[in-house]
Symmetry: C2
Subunit: 689 residues, 2 copies
């Protein structure tokens, strides 16, 4: 829904429903730092990876608000200075909530998406589709977005400036609690209660609280309007007439749902199957906060796994059943406990996780995120509480990653039952269903209602049609009840909604019987299990998890390092001629050609800068390997995290680098195969020259 | 610009300018089929690739309008039936000009984009960026899109239905020419002239012609409104106030231009460098035609190569200089000749192509397209005529690909000079410039204008400021002229625009002299060379070029084949157990696992269908290799175009397939290494079983 929680919740994806107030997602633990913070934050230590694979840099767990803020500042400064991202349209003073990915950020994103395709689409044989962002109104009417995809807004009555109503109320409560030491215990409890229940407040309740507390517009102290819903979709018009309203999609999922029929056919009319889509989604935030975490345009990667609701087992579940990781089930949240490490197979078998397929995806998401470089102990799977879930959802879990903003929802994994396909079936009139063909026809008992038009006509004249329709629409329970009344009394009272009155039905007017029929198939609306990935959020958390600092030449000088796994590193390798010299430059060019031929992204740095500075410069954008040309026959390769070096023949460079960045050799393997070049100590001349 | 040409011109990318009527692109040879059409079209022959690498299927050149139409229908039917694409939101009756890529189409697109990244971004060390689609008005005001990105529209005065004015006029002329055999030669000439000059007509001229010919609304025969410009951008509003107009970007280029300063810094303040971007662009067409070629949302891949206007040489030009391919220079177009094969090096050295950098990119685009599978003799580079180019452009070439719609502009390669950076410098006030540092300071002569404020004050009193500013703003020519008049006459007449009158300046009031100064650098606005790729158009043309049919079991049965190069094939390999059998299924699963581990996209088809049908099914989506499991030790691999088979050990399958699809082995190499399995004849049982 709108409030507090909203500030931390992923994309629109996670907030679909046709029905308020269930149209929401809520994070009950915003900004609450895990109690597992064990090390201090200000100096993060480099990994000791000299002898083996470069370990992921140790956890940058930060313990206090101030050090969190300081840590975030140094990450963000590095990101912005090295153009991982750029505030969009900066020369025009930018637009809140819009960011560009600069060259290294763009490469990281491209690597993350490639790995996503490999890990999900290719390995699971998913059907990938690519649908437009411009979406006609009817589709988003069916999905519920046109009516319910809103935040509550208030306006400064004089200037017209807009605010999120919940933000103002929350800020007011926080401010009061922080600045007034002499509040009564009752007042403290009240303010805390307001903050805790922001999500459940109606428009009227929120408005009343704002009035009661006398909250004014922050900048001007002017009066505020009553809160009213603001739809978060960017609206536009399709075609030249101005009559066809369209929206920029708030999620990619709807493009998959409307194609269900074709995709089911493509899959040979067989379930289960999954469709996937990567693409831009849009959300016209009222006032974007939290930098890269809450933006107005973002990349989503979504999977819709369609499954028979009567069989949610998964053939590959055993592949992930033994994984153990942090889970935060409903029960633990409601009883004030913390998250705990559980075996996935147990969580499914004891019913904590609703079904195998949902569990399988939770496991695959865990593998995806940790292989990208997300730290295992700063990743948890949190189950939605009953009041966070839409009424139709069977079970929902969020992959939350801890960063300096707290635990951030980065992937939502929801069993949405048949809701979406049913909504589009209803609106479009096209049956989005699957069929299970029986090996042999099955005999089933069906209730048959046979009205006598003649008798109904005589009794109800012009109202006959409405009575007929109402009889047809009876549920099995209602019909059986009528049947027994007709048998015992010869007549039954019957409520006809469309006539707004009760009529008397006699046993001449209708016969109700049970008949046996042969059925050749079972037709049903599939359930959908939806893992939905906020790519930008995952990348931002990855930046924080991979970032560390280490001492430079002097103890005062702190050097920044992004310890990216090779998989995501924006550039895999740099090539440095040690000194400016035509021979070395020629060797560097030859190595560059060989790397290009192997498809290894790399840069040559021929600036005359000291080698130490050049290493530092590439460490700061997370380049795993640096090749330094210091002779015309052999060169050194230096690993980023350990700073250890080996000496190799020029002709071997490309294949060694390729094996390492593709994960076929560890740095330990390479050190075993090739002689070390100096030590790994910080004082070797090469490093600090 | 708007008319006829517009129907064939690529994306907005190619139509930027601040100035009408130069804001346009024009294709002078729409739908004119090349005279080189040599073979008949209806039956296209399979390649004879048995002994070597599978050759690209021979040219599907079609000679008549009817056979072109028939050919297109069979391609499009196959594409739609196999879900290469799907009309978007089909269950809601769709939206004109919006298409989804279904699973195989999405895979082809992803392969094309990966190769684009490899071929351009990686090999040329480009800086890739990723900017939002939502763009604030100020940016597109500066670029000229807000004012000039329009088509002329007329409305049915009763129903409000909208039409492209030029379409109606063109259709009218065509219709008249086709249906009236007894037109006078004068009338025929007139109608042809109108069609040829549609692009150059003003709003008024177009309106007058529509009136003169009495053209009515096609469906209703109602009166039409006068033509008026309709802006083709999708408009929206950013943020909740409704005061900040935004648009969905009509091209990705502007995101690069506004980041020039940061990117230049990122590149070490050195020129040349190129930035690149892949992303969605939007164009709210009045009435989309031509299926997949003219859509309302499309993927662009754009490069902006920034270069010193005084040095447009390219260090790698020699790599492409020897390429020979079809070019259609201005001269040949104006003199009614056809395109001809030229050596790229010659075209640059004799000035046909303006400079080396532009030539280099033309060569790289040629390599890109032909490696994707575009036929060499159905690809030409056409130079823009003087009246097609914007006034600032130095030279423009379009890569045009011939398909059933005619020659289609798929890539535009333009030397846009400094226009874009200057436009944003002016609007934003941020100098988007580069500097060439001199090794040694250079002495330059500069004109110095020194006014005497005292004398000016005495003479002009309150107007002194305006006169001062006007003196300061004099050009070098004006100043030198004044200097000589002051020296000869002691005074000079001087027009002060801000005063709207001429004043007399005496030699006491101003001294004008030339002084020598030392300069340490030259500051200038870089030129930009822009290759811009319409990815969807390239893919559509690729479909047509790769499609062929061959006889099935009977001569009457025509089987469809997409002869995609491995690089773009949506799926690289299929695995078929010959008969339903647990042992064969287990082998197929093992092979599948090995293929997954090698990153090879593949599918297993375990349906009981005959092997011939399964081959045909995968040929139709262009799968290059099929592995048939017919024993538990060895299997056959069949190549799509030659239908030849080899027998290999199960453990070798993945590595053989990988080598082939990555281009390290040809099919000929594989046939050399492994024993053939039966012949390649169509009558072998395996093929037609």
């Amino acid at each position: 829904m709108r409030i507090n929680a909203h500030a931390l919740s992923l994309a629109s994806t996670l907030h679909r429903s046709g029905k308020n107030p269930l149209y929401r997602s809520k994070t009950l633990t915003p900004l609450s730092f895990s109690t597992m913070a064990a090390t201090t934050a200000s100096s993060t230590h480099p990994p000791a990876a000299a002898a083996g694979a470069p370990a992921a840099p140790a956890g940058n767990v930060v313990s206090s608000a101030a050090s969190r803020e300081a840590f975030r500042q140094s990450v963000v400064n590095t990101l912005e200075r090295r153009l991982f991202y750029i505030p969009s349209f900066k020369i025009y003073r930018g637009v809140a909530g819009l960011y560009d990915y600069g060259p290294p950020g763009c490469a990281v994103k491209s690597n993350v998406l490639s790995f996503w395709r490999q890990h999900f689409v290719l390995e699971e044989g998913m059907l990938e589709v690519d649908c437009p962002c411009v979406t006609p109104e009817v589709v988003l009417k069916a999905s519920g977005h046109v009516d319910k995809f809103t935040d509550l807004m208030v306006k400064d009555e004089k200037t017209g400036t807009c605010y999120r109503a919940d933000h103002l109320l929350k800020d007011h409560c926080k401010d009061k609690l922080e600045k007034n030491a002499n509040l009564t215990p009752e007042k403290v409890a009240e303010l805390n209660h307001v903050m805790a229940t922001l999500d459940d407040m109606s428009t009227e309740q929120l408005g009343a609280k704002i009035k009661e507390y006398g909250i004014k517009a922050p900048e001007t102290n002017n009066q505020l309007s009553d809160p009213y819903p603001f739809n978060l979709m960017f609206q536009t018009s399709i075609g030249p007439t101005g009559l066809n309203t369209g929206y920029m999609r708030p999620e990619t999922a709807q493009g998959i749902f409307v194609n269900f029929k074709d995709l089911y056919y493509y899959n040979g009319n067989k379930l289960p199957f999954a469709a996937a889509q990567i693409g831009q989604a849009f959300r016209n935030e009222i006032s974007p906060r939290q930098g890269l975490l809450r933006v107005r345009e973002f990349t989503l990667a979504e999977i819709e796994h369609f499954v028979d609701p009567e069989d949610k087992s998964h053939p590959k579940f055993s592949d992930v059943a033994d994984l153990k990781f942090l889970m935060f089930p409903r029960e633990e949240q409601l009883t004030g406990q913390s998250s705990k490490t559980l075996r996935l197979g147990d969580a499914v078998s004891n019913g904590t996780i609703n079904n195998e397929t949902l569990g399988y995806f939770i496991g695959r998401v865990y593998l995806f995120l940790t292989r990208l470089g997300i730290e295992k102990d700063r990743l948890r799977f949190r189950q939605h509480l009953p009041n966070e879930m839409a009424h139709y959802a069977a079970d929902c879990w969020d992959a939350e990653i801890e960063c300096s903003y707290g635990w951030i929802e980065c992937v939502g994994i929801a069993d949405r039952s048949a809701y979406d396909l049913k909504a589009h079936t209803e609106k479009s009139g096209v049956a989005l269903v699957a069929a299970e063909k029986f090996a042999e026809p099955r005999e089933v008992e069906k209730l048959v209602i046979t009205p006598s038009k003649k008798d109904l006509g005589l009794a109800f004249k012009g109202n006959q049609k409405m009575v007929l329709e109402a009889l047809d629409a009876m549920s099995e329970v209602e019909a059986l009840e009528m049947k027994s009344k007709l048998e015992s009394n010869g007549e039954a009272e019957f409520q006809v909604c469309t006539l707004n009155k009760t009529v008397t039905i006699t046993n001449k007017m209708v016969s109700i019987s049970k008949e046996k029929k042969k059925e050749h198939q079972r037709v049903f609306t599939p359930s959908v299990i939806e893992p939905s990935f906020g790519i930008g959020r995952i990348i931002y958390c990855l930046y924080e998890h991979c970032f560390y600092t280490r001492a430079g030449k002097t103890e005062d000088e702190q050097l920044n390092v992004f310890g990216f796994p090779s998989l995501v590193a924006p550039i895999k390798c740099t090539v440095f001629p040690l000194v400016k010299n035509e021979q070395f430059d020629a060797v560097a060019r030859d190595i560059s050609k060989a790397l290009t031929a192997s498809g290894i992204s790399h840069i040559i740095d021929v600036t005359g800068t000291s080698i130490g500075k050049r290493y530092a410069r590439t460490d700061e954008i997370g380049v795993p390997l640096a090749v330094t040309v210091d002779s015309t026959t052999t060169v050194t390769i230096r690993e980023r995290d350990s700073k250890a070096q080996v000496r190799v023949k020029i002709t071997e460079v490309a294949s060694i680098v390729k094996r390492f960045v593709e994960g076929h050799s560890t740095w330990g393997d390479i050190q075993w195969d090739y002689p070390a070049n100096h030590g790994t100590d910080e004082n070797v001349p090469e490093e600090n020259a």
